[in-house]
């Protein structure tokens, strides 16, 4: 700590150069924060709380409906604790640009199987007793400024209703909030009751889009999934059962390998940062050969001088990196707005901070160690002679 002054003096010796290096490091980490936010949205999709949930879809494809009659047979399988069903509605709110998932769900079972959905007792009661009730995720409510009690009209793109139009109206009875701080999948969803939907639609009655199954023992999820698929093999409606996590990952992967694209860009960026800062540090130490020789003459050991230089580079990287990630955290909401809700809200997550800090430390060492070693080997006489 007592050497802090020396480290700072080193950094401030050439103010504009340090400032520019700081700025390039900062920019690199702004980019890292933004891209890692995008990657997180695509690769993780939702939180990992659904370890004990399986998703049963048609084996043919995700759009093929399954008969409702399968529900009781799946529920009877050993290891299955609870089952809920759902159907994609594909409704449009006001304009098709306002896309968000809206899903018809079996009300009681759906809430029971998704304990992470936090509701007040009144909201829960209203949803379970009102046929036209709907629940909206917290982000969705913010996005459209909805109030509980409001009637939400949706234009059904897939399902016309029995009155011969595409208009469906739902009563917003509550807001789905997540107990955790991280945004969850349902924060952007609207759910409403399957019974209201199934009665109102003109086609496909008695079918469901997919089942969600809660299993007693997450360790046995593979066995249960296979048992479900085996039950309907060679029937008219064969199933494909995956854990919720697998299902989400497979879906995210359909957008393409975002992780790979992000890694490639970041590799190019960090390589450049390495060059720029490395070059600056090396030049700084070269110019300061005289100062370093004087420090050594005064009795500073080679190792101390070495540490001083490495600390200097670590400090530069950490300051620039944290400033960059901070800026990214501030800027991401604006980017989310520019995308008009086409991606779930972007944020700099704790993981991104941790990965970022690790990269800062590694870059700081890689950049700082070579000039430090040169300073260690520096012969006082030579350096003083040159100065």
């Amino acid at each position: 700590m007592k050497y802090l002054g020396l480290v700072l003096a080193g950094l401030l010796r050439h103010r504009s150069r340090s400032l520019l290096t700081f700025a390039s490091v900062m920019t690199a980490f702004v980019l890292f924060g933004v891209l890692d936010g995008v990657r997180t949205v695509f690769s993780e999709g939702t939180d990992t709380s659904g370890q004990d949930r399986l998703i049963v879809t048609s084996r043919l494809s995700i759009i093929e409906p399954l008969p409702y009659s399968q529900l009781a047979r799946i529920a009877a399988i050993d290891g299955v604790q609870q089952i809920a069903h759902a159907n994609w509605f594909g409704g449009v709110y006001q304009d098709r640009k306002n896309f968000f998932p809206n899903i018809a769900v079996s009300a009681d079972e759906w809430l029971a199987i998704h304990p992470e959905i936090t509701l007040t007792a009144a909201e829960r009661d209203a949803f379970l007793t009102t046929r036209t009730a709907a629940l909206a995720g917290e982000n969705l409510v913010d996005r459209f400024g909805w109030k509980v009690g409001e009637r939400i009209p949706l234009e059904g793109t897939i399902f016309p209703n029995k009155s011969g139009s595409n208009s469906w109206t739902f009563d917003l009875v509550g807001v789905m909030r997540s107990g955790q701080d991280e945004g969850s999948g349902f924060a952007n969803e609207l759910i409403f009751r399957y019974d209201y939907f199934d009665e109102g639609r003109t086609q496909g009655q008695g079918t469901v889009g997919w089942y969600v199954v809660r299993i007693a023992d997450p360790a046995r999820s593979n066995d249960v999934a296979q048992a479900i698929d085996a039950l309907f093999r060679n029937s008219d409606a064969e199933t494909k059962t995956q854990s919720e996590k697998e299902f989400n990952l497979a879906f995210a992967k359909q957008f393409g390998d975002i992780g790979l694209i992000v890694s490639a860009i970041m590799a190019a960026v960090f390589f450049t940062v390495l060059l720029v800062t490395g070059n600056t540090m090396a030049q700084g130490v070269r110019e300061r050969a005289g100062d370093i020789a004087i420090l050594k003459t005064l009795g500073f050991s080679g190792v101390t001088v070495c540490l001083l230089i490495v600390t200097e580079s670590l400090l530069l990287l950490l300051a620039g990196g944290c400033a960059g990630l901070g800026l990214a955290a501030l800027g991401l909401p604006a980017l989310s707005r520019a995308l008009r809700g086409q991606l779930p809200p972007l944020e700099v997550s704790v993981d991104t901070w941790l990965i970022g800090l690790a990269i800062m430390l590694v870059l700081g060492l890689v950049v700082g160690v070579p000039p430090a070693v040169r300073a260690l080997r520096l012969r006082i006489v030579d350096a003083l002679a040159r100065a």
Partner: protein, 393 residues
Amino acid sequence: MSALRQIFALTLMGLSTLPQRLASSLVIVVGIAGVAGVLVSLLAMRDGFQTTLGATGRIDEAIVLRGGSNTELSSRLTREDATLIAQAPGILAGPDQWPLISAEVVVIVNLPKKSTGTDSNVEVRGVGPQALALRAQVKISQGRAFAAGRRELLVGRGAASQFSGLTVGSTIKLAGEPWAVVGLFESGDAHESEIWADAESVQSAYRRDGYQSVRVKLTDALAFNEFKAALAADPRLKVDVQRTRNYYATQSQRLRRLIDVLATTVAVIMAIGATFGALNTMYAAVATRQREIAIMRALGFASFSIVAAVMVEAIALALTGGLLGAGLAWLVFDNYTVSTLGANFSQVVFAFRVSPMLVGDALRWALAIGFLGGLLPALGAARAPLTSALRGR
């Protein structure tokens, strides 16, 4: 005239000492190459996507969907609807005098993507007998078309390149039954991401009765209004009619915007970073040449010439980097084929396109970065007090 000679002499001298400053000069080149490379790749992705989707559909072709449905997948039309639509005015007759109309059924199948090995949604389109005559852009490049009533598939070139098991001669399972791949087609648009089969065969395999859409070729682009009005006037029909050009443009809107915003954001941030990097390197370059530049000024070289010479050097380095990056991006990514989830809930295959215009864009960015990166250091060098600069302080 003498100013030009001065600039020339100074630039030459600067460039001749470049090898001694190789490491730091390379920093500019590599840094800007990185920016140009990423910029060109991202914009090539955007352009490739736009070209594929933009080339899909025509203004003299119409698609009919159930009223209120946005996509083919959410639309349903009955056989009666299809018959009524075929009787509307404005439809072009084919060489055999049949109207050029195709009632089509669209289903999604799970096929493993080659790159990830995981299941992807691939669009299977059951088409009517006139479908190939209706879409003149579709060319069978290998094998033959499917036969009516048979479980045979004609696979788009993009689909064949992205998903496993779609070579001519192989057999895949759809709806639990074997289907033979008998041909490959090229169309240069979004249809290449699809697999085509006979509409009747798809209907029977998937136990479907009706269709998703009806496509018609119009006598000319103006006939659209007449055709649309006739369908709107028929009380038995509840349909939406669009030109296929408009339909596909709307389909790709969301994804286009997403790619556009992300690509621009990344490019702008990278350019800012590269400008800082270039500034830093040019300051360093000027600092090492401080004494030399001071001597030149003492000898009578004008400040303006010094500024110009430093900037020429910065811009030359930046342009080298820009060319290098754009060239690399072109080598690696031109025609690089990928697929993503499109609006119809199914995979759209498209190829990156590195056009000369993109390379021009990248060079312009490089030029701007080099200009900004050189300007301040050059001014600094020209303004430094002569006496202290000569002493090397």
